[in-house]
């Protein structure tokens, strides 16, 4: 990947994510998150009034970081990353991560990426921004 070949507006590859009961359990085990809204559906519905098991916000943050890191591969490094969770998502939903180039600084070799996770209705559940520095 060469910075001279990149253009503002270029799209990053999209990826669909459909967490399963098992993958959501493994994620919460890996990050040591015991919050019951992620694995106890009866509790999530009755005590916290969710329509189902909640897909973790930081997991969506991971998908945003993956979108940037998978696109960048070994052509540089991630220098800054920010995200927020705007809207809840639930087990059974398919969410899609994607992004585009919004700025290029050829002198500093910095590329700024706008990132998003959207739900089936096209609503952004988690927006993000990443800045990467290209080596090539």
């Amino acid at each position: 990947m060469r910075i001279s070949e990149l253009h503002v507006g270029d799209a990053l590859p999209e990826r669909a994510h459909t967490p399963s009961n098992v993958s959501l359990f493994l994620y919460n085990a890996a990050v040591w998150n015991p919050h019951r809204i992620h694995y106890d559906e009866t509790y999530a519905r009755t005590a916290e009034h969710h329509p189902g098991l909640v897909i973790d916000g930081p997991l969506q943050g991971d998908w945003l970081a993956q979108c940037a890191a998978n696109w960048l591969a070994d052509h540089g490094s991630l220098e800054r990353f920010q995200y927020s969770n705007r809207q809840a998502a639930y087990l059974g939903e398919t969410l899609t991560s994607g992004g585009k180039i919004v700025a290029i600084d050829p002198v500093e070799r910095l590329v700024t990426l706008e990132l998003w996770v959207t739900n089936a209705a096209g609503e952004v559940t988690s927006p993000g921004v990443a800045t990467v520095r290209l080596t090539g």
Partner: protein, 152 residues
């Protein structure tokens, strides 16, 4: 300003939690990489941690008997009791100085960097900004995470 934050609240600005030390294992990186369905071999082999591996890496480890009804440990975020109780996560911003690798011995220190009020459309909001500084065994910065929580 809505006048909810007192001097006693604002005295928490600058408060630091005790340093937490974490040893990063290849196996923990691989578990995280599998759970998040990473595709790059560098992560799946555990040679380098995906960026968001940092999430809750320095979180409290409490016995089962100390967990609340909702499963979470109580009182793990240092800070004053606020006059607004419903707390939402705001944004997270990371400055990354180098990737995390197996064998790293990391130290995390959390600090309250700011507290302020705003008037929202549905009433007052209190913002608390925290900064997690992660350094390695040589004392070099690995990353800085800034996190905002919003009480309403």
């Amino acid at each position: 300003m809505t006048g909810l934050l007192t001097e006693a609240h604002r005295a928490w600005i600058g408060h630091e939690t005790p340093a937490v030390e974490v040893e990063v294992s290849r196996r923990d990186i691989i578990k995280y990489a599998i759970a998040t369905e990473q595709v790059r071999e560098i992560y799946l082999q555990g040679d380098e941690a995906p960026l968001m591996f940092i999430f809750n890496l320095f979180g409290a480890l409490r016995p089962v008997s100390a967990l609340r009804e909702d499963g979470l440990p109580s009182g793990t975020s240092a800070g004053p009791k606020l006059p607004l109780q419903r707390v939402m996560a705001g944004g997270v911003a990371l400055s990354i100085h180098r990737p995390i690798r197996p064998g790293d011995r990391l130290t995390g220190v959390n600090r309250i960097t700011d507290m302020y009020e705003k008037s929202g459309r549905q009433g007052p909001l209190i913002f608390t900004e925290r900064e997690l500084r992660v350094t390695d065994a040589a004392g070099e910065s690995v990353l800085v995470e800034k996190q905002t929580s919003i009480a309403r």
